[in-house]
């Protein structure tokens, strides 16, 4: 098991970060009145951990007995039936799924599953009608239609099921859905918190941590707990006992992007642009999301850039990121950004150095 999973806090009491929120949630559950919940926050902030702990708080250890199901849904859509296959993780009390995996047919999934869950409501030991919890991941990636149908079904079946939604950015969730949920924002953990956690893990694994080592990992982690723990484990595999100035391995794709960035800084010509395109292609073929590439590339470029130009470059990066969302093929826009950067940078070089 990866350390990320191994040292994941299981209960609300044991949460390392967001302790306050955890306590509030605990009170909420204790009062037996749980509204729909929407957790949002940057990756690695602990949304998933919190949700799992919350479910355990609600249903006890039974919530942890989950089973993976590949379920085929037959959906009657007017004139034809659509068959959709979607993986879901289910216990007796909750179902977890990722509706955006269904692609453009996501709205059928949302409706159908909620309907089905509403049909067979569990009855708890006291004979009272209980409710099931439906955990939907990546709600921000749902289509607008799916979010609308989510809103309707939410109202209709609110007696029989509770929704727990989870996403990175609440701005891509429609107002209607947001207003029907209790919004819980989870901040990224601070560097100090990450250091604390890493040192804790180090103690439990009985590792000797040289001073400042955890701090360096934390600094590289982008304030993502998951990222920090993963690279901590990577370091452990690479070299143990740790040395004081052991390099923290960067993600391979990030290295690749910084290579691209230095390529761009070295030469500004159509030929080089073409080479850059080839490299971006390799990243894309490995399913690295284009937004992530563009963002990382911008950060790498900014590192090496004269502060005079930073403003303009950021402007163009934002411009082409928007274009990317409007367009179909991201490479066109990434390339346009690179070309624009090259053009600006070259003009700058000529101006300053003649």
């Amino acid at each position: 098991m990866l350390w990320v999973d191994k040292y994941r806090p299981r209960t609300l009491d044991k949460m390392f970060v967001h302790e306050e929120i955890a306590q509030n949630l605990k009170k909420l559950v204790a009062e037996q009145d749980c509204p729909h919940l929407l957790f949002y926050g940057p990756p690695g902030a602990g949304k998933k951990t919190l949700i799992m702990a919350l479910l355990r708080e609600m249903f006890g250890p039974a919530a942890e007995k989950v089973k993976l199901e590949q379920k085929t849904w037959k959906i009657d859509a007017g004139t034809r039936t659509i068959e959709l296959e979607l993986a879901m993780l289910a216990s007796t009390h909750h179902v977890e799924l990722n509706p955006s995996d269904a692609g453009f047919q996501d709205r059928y999934i949302v409706q159908e599953i909620i309907k089905e869950m509403a049909k067979n409501r569990p009855i708890d030991s006291k004979g009272k009608k209980g409710f099931k919890v439906l955990v939907l991941n990546e709600v921000d990636k749902l289509s607008k239609e799916a979010q609308h149908s989510l809103r309707r079904t939410m109202e209709k079946y609110s007696a029989s099921c509770r929704l727990v939604l989870c996403c990175n950015s609440s701005s891509r969730v429609t107002e209607a859905v947001r207003s029907r949920c209790l919004n819980v924002r989870l901040n990224a953990p601070t560097v100090e918190q990450i250091i604390e956690v890493l040192e804790l893990i180090g103690k439990k694994e009985s590792l000797q941590l040289p001073p400042g080592f955890a701090a360096r990992i934390a600094a590289q982690s982008n304030r993502s707990m998951r990222r920090a723990i993963l690279s901590f484990e990577t370091c452990r595999v690479q070299q143990y006992p740790f040395t004081v100035n052991q390099a923290v391995p960067a993600m391979d794709w990030e290295q690749y992007v910084s290579e691209i960035a230095s390529d761009i800084m070295k030469e500004q010509s159509p030929k080089r642009l073409f080479q850059v395109r080839g490299k971006v292609y390799e990243l894309l073929a490995n399913c690295i999301p284009p937004e992530v590439i563009l963002k990382k590339l911008l950060l790498e470029l900014l590192k090496k850039l004269d502060s005079e130009l930073k403003h303009e470059i950021c402007h163009w990066a934002a411009y082409y990121e928007h274009r990317m969302r409007l367009g179909q093929k991201s490479i066109f826009h990434i390339e346009a950004f690179v070309a624009k950067f090259m053009s600006i940078y070259k003009a700058f070089l000529i101006e300053t150095f003649g």
């Binding site: 990866l2 993502s224 484990e233 990577t234 894309l284 999301p289």
Partner: protein, 628 residues
């Protein structure tokens, strides 16, 4: 219904007889000779099918026919009488294509060298035909450039008799049902061709002995290869042709019409090329016909003009010759069409001529701005002649090479008069048609055109001009947005949606093309460039595959809640490191169930993709793009 069928059968047999009679003496024996042969060769010694159609229309004895019909049915005879009268009143001319068919070698418009080549070959084969292989001559070329006419003319000059394979008429389904009810087996046209090929081998051996009286040399002409559908049939056809090339004892001429890629799609051209290469390997000699030159077509047309005493201007002839694209059949037909009502036509032709002349100097200077007007410039181009088509690669080459006129002082003056532009926006006039028209000629669809431009344009931007590169890529990015927009438009009615979609696609293509033309201020001096197929397509395919793979593994390994990007950007790289640690013997087997994905990849875990495979497809098109 039954009656009607009977009538048709009668008329067609009649037609044959009539034509035989009119054709005269020396064709008679050919028919009797052909009798012992298979049914598939029943058309031997006759003219090809098209001409027989025409012949039936201009047949001189409709009365006789009408009388026969009358005995069959009174009603029919009445109708036919009317019809016959109507036809009698009409002033009818034979089509010029048939009337002015070249009967001698001298009349051929084909290049002398080609004619000579074929003639030499035929003479060579006819004088000492015994016991040598390579009796097959292959003629290739576009439609209507006189392949068959050349063979016929030479044959008649050499006094040889031409035996022609004509693909039998296709069997209709009803016919098929009827035949199979009678207990006959259906024979596919390809099978018939196969048996014909077999017989050619034997027949040529037997023939001179059996019919010793005939000293007329025989040439076999295969003008129409049976169509094939599917790989198996094609292989069979190939085998047939191979045996034909090897076993044929008589000089055999196979003429294959080249099709442009656009007409038939990519697969079929490669098939024709394959056929040609197979025949060549089997020892066939190939003579490739080029499209006829404008001057030779003009000569033919003016000859016809003199014969018919038509009052047409030289300009018209000139225009027809230019627009027909080397297709003389088309040229003659459109010439006849123009001569039907010369008054109207002349007017329009001359008027456009005038306007083009007067406008020429204007357009030259302002064509970069006003190219839209050029769109409906010479109307007569569309009245006659074939629409010119371009291959997609040809068009792309035009856009990418971005050739511009060299401006002279006069043009610059005019330009400044009409509209003053900032200097950085001024471009020299294009050395081509309006980009949109070029696109439509190439049947370019927006998405592939944009992708192709994107893939290749950087090769054509000169080295230092990074600003140009940005301009081009920003326009391509615009085009991509427009294309994406065309997918998302939702309109109330379906037809509306369809239309707006196609329009926005056109706009996107136009933006991309014009962006490429405008942005590339100093295109590289023209040199050899290969046009690559977009690597983007491969990458998309790979990414899709990869994603599906990950999706499969995702649930088992990482649980449902983890998003795709998290897996790719965080889990996978770390897991790779960790598992590579295990293979080094550092780990303790804890991580066994994580898939190890590092083995097959290169240094960074990124596979290097080989694009050679797709390149080879394009290579055949390269020669067209060399210089435009």
């Amino acid at each position: 219904m039954g009656k009607r069928k009977a009538v048709i059968v009668l008329s067609s047999s009649e037609d044959d007889e009539v034509r035989d009679r009119s054709a005269g003496g020396h064709q008679r024996p050919s028919k009797s000779r052909s009798n012992p042969l298979s049914t598939s060769r029943k058309r031997i010694g006759k003219r090809s099918k098209e001409t027989s159609c025409v012949g039936s229309v201009s047949r001189p004895s409709p009365k006789l026919e009408a009388a026969k019909f009358a005995t069959l049915s009174e009603d029919f005879s009445d109708c036919l009488e009317d019809l016959h009268l109507a036809r009698g009143n009409q002033y009818w001319k034979e089509l010029w294509i048939d009337k002015y068919k070249p009967s001698s070698v001298a009349q051929l418009a084909v290049h002398k060298k080609k004619v000579e080549e074929i003639k030499c070959w035929l003479e060579d084969r006819l004088t000492k035909s015994k016991g040598r292989s390579g009796n097959v001559l292959l003629l290739t070329g576009h439609a209507g450039i006189g392949k068959s006419a050349t063979v016929r003319a030479i044959a008649s000059q050499l006094g040889a008799q031409l035996c022609e394979w004509t693909t039998p008429t296709p069997t209709l389904w009803q016919e098929h049902v009827h035949i199979s009810n009678l207990g006959l087996r259906y024979v596919s046209k390809l099978d018939e061709f196969e048996s014909f090929v077999e017989k050619v081998g034997k027949y040529s051996l037997l023939f001179p002995n059996n019919f010793g009286l005939s000293k007329v040399p025989i040439i076999i002409l295969i003008d129409d290869l049976p169509g094939t559908n599917g790989r198996a049939a094609f292989v069979k056809l190939k085998k047939c042709l191979m045996t034909l090339a090897h076993s044929s004892q008589l000089p055999t001429i196979i003429s294959i019409t080249e099709f442009s890629e656009i007409d038939l799609g990519k697969g079929s051209t490669s098939r024709y090329e394959e056929l040609i290469s197979i025949l060549e390997r089997a020892g066939a000699q190939k003579v490739a016909f080029n499209p006829l030159t404008v001057s030779s077509i003009k000569k033919v047309l003016s000859n016809i003009c003199q014969e018919e005493k038509c009052d047409v201007t030289l300009e018209l002839i000139d225009q027809i010759a230019k627009t027909c694209g080397g297709d003389i059949r088309n040229a003659v037909a459109s010439f006849q069409y123009c001569c039907v009502r010369p008054d109207d036509f002349l007017l329009s032709a001359s008027s456009t001529q005038m306007t083009t002349n007067t406008r020429l100097d204007f357009t030259k200077s302002r064509s970069s701005l006003l190219t839209g007007q050029n769109g409906h410039e010479p109307l007569s181009f569309f009245l006659v002649g074939r629409d010119e088509t371009l291959t997609l690669f040809h068009a792309l080459g035009k856009f990418l090479h971005n050739k511009r006129e060299i401006p002279n002082a006069l043009d610059l003056d005019l330009g400044s008069e009409s509209l003053v532009l900032c200097k950085k926006f001024v471009r020299k006039p294009l050395k081509m048609d309006v980009p949109e028209r070029v696109l439509s000629q190439a049947y370019g669809q927006a998405r592939p055109v944009v992708d192709f431009l994107h893939e290749n344009v950087l090769d054509f931007v000169s080295d230092g001009a990074i600003n140009d590169a940005w301009m081009v890529s920003s326009y391509l990015s615009d085009a991509d947005c427009l294309l994406a927009l065309s997918l998302h438009i939702i309109f109330p009615s379906l037809t509306d949606m369809h239309e707006s979609k196609s329009i926005s696609q056109l706009v996107a293509a136009s933006v991309a093309v014009r962006g490429v033309l405008f942005g590339n201020v100093q295109p590289m001096s023209s040199r050899w460039h290969t046009i690559r197929s977009p690597k983007l397509w491969q990458i998309e395919h790979l990414a899709h595959q990869h994603k599906n793979e990950l999706m499969g593994a995702k649930c088992d390994t990482y649980g449902i809640g983890v998003s795709m990007s998290e897996i790719v950007t965080e889990y996978l790289p770390s897991v790779k490191w960790i598992s590579s640690g295990i293979t080094d013997g550092l780990g303790d087997g804890k991580y066994e169930h994580y898939p190890i994905r590092v083995n097959s990849s290169s240094e960074h875990g990124f596979v290097v993709y080989d694009s050679k495979e797709s390149m080879s497809n394009e290579e055949s098109d390269d020669d067209e793009i060399e210089d435009w």
